[in-house]
């Protein structure tokens, strides 16, 4: 495929869709799909045929629209009306009312004026709800593969790296390492064989950013990987994701095939001498395989266990060759940087954290779903403007960012801007973008216990601090929750938390104590109430009566 053919394809697709007066877009994200949105298309087509509207209205299954908590979603363009909570049995009546009787069902509709959408800024999620995830021509019609074409025909690999460096993009997997520097390091390695790996092993409970991107915009991810491969000089890429994401795997497989057929992947991409192939590797869902060295071990077919760094994967990665490893979201940002320039990207966000970040809003928040916001937005705006406040009108207590390895941020920091440095300062991390909101009925000790249980379960068992330390901490937290702990236990917990944080081998162990340390920092009174007064301040824990006879039974 050449550049002219690309433009021609885009023009044809736009013309094709332009024929229709209306478009019905059905959300095909995993959340809406699991609620039955997969059956809508056939039903709608039947109704349209009945009223002879088939040539006027296009029916499309599109990517995730973001407001997962109100799904299944169905949008009608050009009116811009979104129907929420669409039940499979009422699809017919909605279509009838909308197109035949002319009165949209009022109570369940929202528009893009809804506060949930207003403060968002789309780069990664851009057009996700406007195009069929698997239609390559629709992706081209919304401007897809232009960045790849531009990089391959107008820029040298060094230019691409310079642009990414200028953008200030930082790794979206959690640690926030500057992406441009990482690319440069891999590019400089003296090796004829190099690899590009996409980390799609999203394991945080309550996080679904990467899944949505892989499901709803697979071509954008592939485009970003291809540009990265061009920049660092790789010819083979791997997408590592988990078996728990069957829809993402299915769509990625189809997308890779389709992209190879059209000449966007494979040999002689877009008529140039650049070759790049992508394969999918499916993990068994171990949380630790999101750690880069464990992930690489898993791709190689070995037990998914981390190893000591250095050497970093950029020097010695897959089978000992230099390997670039980035998160799904990082790759999904690349197209915009190449299209609009690094300076444009750097103008969004804060001084040290550029661009946007995708968050998965979850927990006791009204609008659960996927949001993309510019860096530097305050936590208050996230929760009360975009998120619509706390469920059931209860009081906000804390928000947990960054998944099980993040910390809990209390009410007094609501007005802090969200960026890598600020979150770190208050004892949490950006992480991959989990955002779990807790109300005043939540016991913070119980929260810490939950996350510690998760980490103990997911520890690989290689190093002692993480393997035994997390379990011992979990047991102490269990004692505290039950009201059976003493102050000695509490002090041991604190000492252990610091040791595990500093002595563990990989990121899993090093960050596992974060929920404990941050809740002790901000909610120590709750710990002390459990220990000294044998009561739970949030009234959610079952305090056991101490019975001396139980020692002898």
């Amino acid at each position: 495929m050449t550049l002219e053919e690309l433009e021609e394809l885009a023009r044809k697709e736009r013309e094709n869709l332009g024929k229709y007066k209306h478009k019905i877009m059905i959300c095909g994200g995993a959340s809406c799909d699991s609620l039955g949105s997969g059956t809508f298309k056939r039903k709608i087509e039947e109704v349209l045929a009945k009223y002879g509207l088939k040539d006027e209205v296009a029916v499309m299954q599109v990517g995730c629209m973001g407001l997962c908590g109100k799904g299944p979603l169905m949008r009608i363009e050009p009116e811009g009306i979104i129907y929420t909570y669409v039940q499979p049995e009422e699809v017919e009546s909605i279509i009838e009312k909308h197109f035949v009787k002319g009165a949209p069902k009022e109570d369940k509709i929202i528009t893009y004026d809804h506060p949930f959408f207003k403060k968002q800024f789309y780069i990664v999620l851009k057009d996700m709800g406007n195009a069929d995830p698997l239609s390559i021509s629709q992706y081209v019609a919304i401007g897809g593969f232009r960045a790849l074409a531009k990089a391959l025909t107008e820029m040298t690999p060094q230019d691409v790296i310079e642009e990414v460096k200028k953008s200030g993009l930082r790794g979206r997997g959690g640690a926030g390492f500057p992406t441009g520097i990482k690319w440069e390091t891999v590019a400089k390695q003296n090796s004829t064989i190099k690899f590009v790996v996409c980390n799609g092993d999203e394991g945080d409970p309550g996080a679904f950013m990467d899944r949505s991107v892989m499901e709803s915009m697979p071509y954008r991810l592939l485009e970003g990987m291809a540009i990265a491969a061009y920049a660092v000089g790789a010819q083979q890429g791997f997408i590592y994701t988990r078996a728990e994401y069957p829809l993402a795997i299915e769509r990625l497989r189809k997308a890779i095939k389709e992209a190879e057929r059209m000449g966007f992947l494979g040999s002689r991409i877009l008529g140039t001498s650049f070759n790049f192939r992508v394969d999918i590797r499916v993990g068994a869902g171990a949380f630790v395989c999101g750690e880069e060295t464990a992930l690489l071990a898993s791709i190689e077919g070995r037990r998914g266990m981390p190893r000591q760094r250095p050497p970093f994967p950029a020097e010695k990665g897959l089978w000992g060759y230099p390997t670039l490893i980035n998160n799904v979201e990082t790759f999904a940002n690349i197209y915009a940087i190449i299209n609009n320039g690094g300076e444009w990207f750097a103008s969004i966000g804060t001084e040290k954290s550029k661009g946007t970040k995708v968050f998965a809003l979850a927990g006791k928040i009204v609008n659960t779903g996927l949001v993309e916001v510019p860096m530097g937005i305050t936590i208050r705006e996230m929760i009360f403007d975009i998120g619509g406040g706390i469920q059931g009108g209860r009081k906000f207590k804390a928000v947990q960012t960054g998944g099980p390895s993040g910390g809990c941020i209390p009410e007094k920091y609501l007005d802090l801007p969200i960026d890598y440095e600020t979150l770190k300062q208050v004892g949490s991390i950006m992480g991959s973008g989990g955002f779990i909101v807790m109300d005043d009925a939540t016991c913070m000790v119980d929260v810490a216990k939950f996350f510690m249980e998760f980490c103990a379960e997911e520890s690989c068992g290689k190093c002692v601090p993480c393997r035994v330390g997390t379990t011992v901490m979990k047991n102490i937290l269990q004692k505290i929750v039950e009201g059976m702990a003493t102050m000695d236990d509490f002090n041991n917990l604190k000492e252990l938390a610091h040791m595990v944080r500093e002595a563990s081998l990989c990121g899993l162990g090093q960050t596992a104590p974060n929920p404990v340390l941050s809740t002790i920092m901000y909610f120590e009174d709750e710990y002390l109430a459990h220990i000294n007064e044998k009561r739970c301040k949030a009234d959610s824990c079952e305090i056991k009566e101490f019975d001396i006879l139980s020692l002898y039974s």
Binding site: Q308, T471, V472, N492, M499
Partner: protein
Amino acid sequence: MGVVTLTINGVECTGKEGQTVLEVAKENGINIPILCNLKGLSPVTACRLCLIEVKGMPRLVPACATKVQEGMVVETNSEKLKNYRRLIVELLFAEGNHICASCVVNGHCELQNLGFAVGMDHVRFDYLWQSFKIDASHERFVMDQSKCVKCTRCIRVCDEVEGAHVWDLGGRGLNARVIAGLNEPWGNVVECTKCGKCVQVCPVGALFEKGATSSEMVKDLTFLERILKGREEHIWVR
């Protein structure tokens, strides 16, 4: 090979380029506690006992896998490190069912020695008292899971020196176990050459010779150096 100068605990030391901090410290009479590391086997950095502070590095690094560099300033025995080591040894004791009095290696045990070395007088944490299995299906040796510290020396010596790869790690987290073959009784694994290298490198009483009772099992590590030296000098090649 070049020579590098570095400071360990305030003492100026010299080492060869390519050596690890652990090796250089040992040559200069500075003892860094180790458990998983064994000279001649690849480092796994799993026990985290040899962690050291290096000036200019944000994290603690394992001495067994850190190469010496010119002008490096290393601290191996700060209060923090001593405390962390003690905590790690305590965790190891809490994890397994280590009852020295009835153990085959009592008195010759590396974990016991570590306990003395880090000044452990009791374990602060509740013992986990997991239930473990003993595998006595092998004709010469016994594997007692309750004493295993997952140092993986047996796995590495079998794979890297003997070349049989009988052992591997199965399970996850606290349920990680050293397994024989495809998680089958050791005696059924036909790949096992019955050489006993794994038994000799085991730092604790998890692997021992059949028939040994309390305190009777003394391990001999000299074979490893002999074999590796012989290989280097090609003494077995005609």
